[in-house]
Subunit: 349 residues, 2 copies
Amino acid sequence: MKRLSEEELIHWIAAGGEDAPAFLRRGIGDDCAVCRPAPGTELVVTTDLLVENRHFRLTTSPLADLGWKVGAANLSDIAAMGARPVAFFLAAAFPPDRQAEFKAIMGGLRAILQWAAAPLAGGDLSAADRFLFCATVIGEAPAGGALLRSGARPGDIVYITGEPGYSAAGLRLLEAGWRVGARGGVRDAAGAPVPPQAPARRCLTRHLRPEPRLAAGLFLRESGAVTACIDTSDGIAKDLRQIAVMSGVGTEIDAVFVRACADGALVTVADALGGGEDYELLFTVDPSREATFLNAYTRAAGLPPLRRVGRIVADHPGELRLLTPAGPQPLPVSGFDHFRPPRSHEPRA
Amino acid sequence: MKRLSEEELIHWIAAGGEDAPAFLRRGIGDDCAVCRPAPGTELVVTTDLLVENRHFRLTTSPLADLGWKVGAANLSDIAAMGARPVAFFLAAAFPPDRQAEFKAIMGGLRAILQWAAAPLAGGDLSAADRFLFCATVIGEAPAGGALLRSGARPGDIVYITGEPGYSAAGLRLLEAGWRVGARGGVRDAAGAPVPPQAPARRCLTRHLRPEPRLAAGLFLRESGAVTACIDTSDGIAKDLRQIAVMSGVGTEIDAVFVRACADGALVTVADALGGGEDYELLFTVDPSREATFLNAYTRAAGLPPLRRVGRIVADHPGELRLLTPAGPQPLPVSGFDHFRPPRSHEPRA
C-alpha cells in the first residue's frame, strides 16, 4: 500500500464522512470546526485519551473493534448525560509505516459513528512510535436537561442497564488466549473454534464492541424521573461512589443484586462490582416516579434490561454499603487507578 | 513529594481553577462538561495532540513554558477563527513517577488560560511511558461570523501579524545548545549568560512562550474586511497554500516581503516561509475595505504589527507564486509532514 502524506490522509478521512448535519457549519479542513447549537439547547463535552499497550492491545482485538471501542468509550459519556452526540473529534498518532492498521481502525470508528449518527467533525494527525487516540465528543440536550452525577437524593432507587461484569469477563478470556478474528470467528485458548451460541461470545462482544447506551440515556433524561446518572467505565463500586460523593449521599447495594450479577460460570461478583469498561448506565430514580418510570421503560422498544442495584440513603455520605441479612456492611471501593500499581483483582484499563 | 492517586490529581487540577463563567454550567467532575451557548452564537472547536520527543522536548524548555505552549497552539486556532475561547479541555498522560513535572507543566498551562480568560472545563488523565497532551478548545463567535480559510477572492490583499520566522530561529538556538532557565535567565551554547536586550531573546520567547493572536483575531472578525484567515503553525508557504486551496484561488508573494522577513542575522527567509510554530495570523482583506481596515488597525491598542505579504489572484488556483522583477515564479511549498521523513530545511514539529 502506498504511504500517504499527512495531507492525503486527512483527505482520505474527510472523504469517508457523511454529509454534515445542520449542527456542523464547517467540519474537517479549517483551523476549527464550526458548530451551530440549536436555540434552547445546551452542549455536553467529553474527551478521552487512549494509549496502545495501556488502554488497548492490538494483539488481542481486531483492528476494527478497536476503532469501534475508541468511539464507544466517549459516546458512553454522552449517553450518561442523556444527550445526543452531534460532533466527534479524533486526534490520532501512530508510526508512519502502520497506515494500513490505522485505516482498519478508522473503519471500526466510522461504523460506530454511523450507528450513533455522529459526524466526524475534525481532529489532528501526527506520528508517534505507537498508536495514540484522543477522542472528543460534543452532545446536545435541551437547556438545563443534561443528567448530572450530583442529583441523587436519599430515598432514590439505584438502577443499572444491561449486564455489568461481562466486559471484564471478556477481557479475561482474551488475556487467557481466546481470539476473535476480523470476521467474527472465535477460537478458545487452545485454538478450537467456539460455537456461535456459546455464552462466552457475549462476554467477548461486550468487551470488544460495547454499544454505548445512547437510546437508554435519552429515555432516562426524557422520563423526568432520573435524578443522577453515570456510565460504568471503572466498575459499579467506583462509579456509584462518584454519584455518592457528588450528591453528598450514601448508597446501599442489595445483596440480591450482587448475587444475581454472578452468572455462575464466566462472570464473577468482582467482575460486576469492580470490572471496567462495561459502559452501562448507572442511575437513580425518584421513588415517587419509580412505578411510572418502570412501566414506560419496559414498554419502550430496543432498550437494554434494567436491574435494581439498591438505594440512596442519607447516612455515611460518599460511602457505599452492602445490605446483608446481618445489616449494612462497608463495601471497599476498588477500581483502576492510573497512578498507583494495579492489584491482582483489578481490571487493566 | 507524595504521589497522588488519579482522583487526588483531578481534585488538585479542579481546585486550581477560576470560578466557572456563564458559559460553563458544569466543569470538571461529571461524565461531560455542560456548556451553555449564548443565543445568536456559533462555536468553533479545535483539538491537538502533542507527544514528548516529537512535538516537544522537556530538555530544551522550562516545564512551565511547555504548559504555556500546549495552550498557545490550540488557542491560536481559536484566534484564527476570530473567536473568543470559552472552554479548554486537557487530556494528559505521563509516567506515574513524574507528577512533579506534570504539576510544573500545569502551572504554565494555567498561566496562559488565565491570560486568555479561558476556563479549564474538563479532560482525562492516564499513565503512559512519556508525556502526551491532547488539548481541545471551544471558542465562541456571533452566528455566521467565524473566519474561514475559504473566503479569499482574487484581488484580496494578504497580510500577516507579527514576526514570522522568529520561532524557527528560536528553535535553532535551542537545538544549538542555548538554554532558558525557569526564571528566564538565558545562556548561550557555551554557557555564557545572554544580556536581556539581546535580539536572540525575542526568538527564544517567540518559540517558548508564543502569544496566540486572540485580540488581533477578534479585531479581524469585527472589522468585516477580512475574507479568509489561518494561523501559521506550519510555515507561511504551507499555510498560505491552505487558503489558496480552500478558496480556489492563486496567491502571489511580494519579493519585498520575503526580503524583509530576514533580519540579516538570526532569522532567515527559510525560517519565515517554512518555519513552524509561529502562531501568527495570515489573512486576506477585501481591497475595497483595505484603507479603512488599516486605518482602524493601526489606531487600535495592543495589536501586533502587520506586514503586507502579497495578493490573491485568479490564475494558478491552489498555488503560490513569488513576484520577482522577472515576473511571478512558482514557489515550492515546504513544511512539516508527520508521515514522510523530514528534510534538512524543515522545522521539527
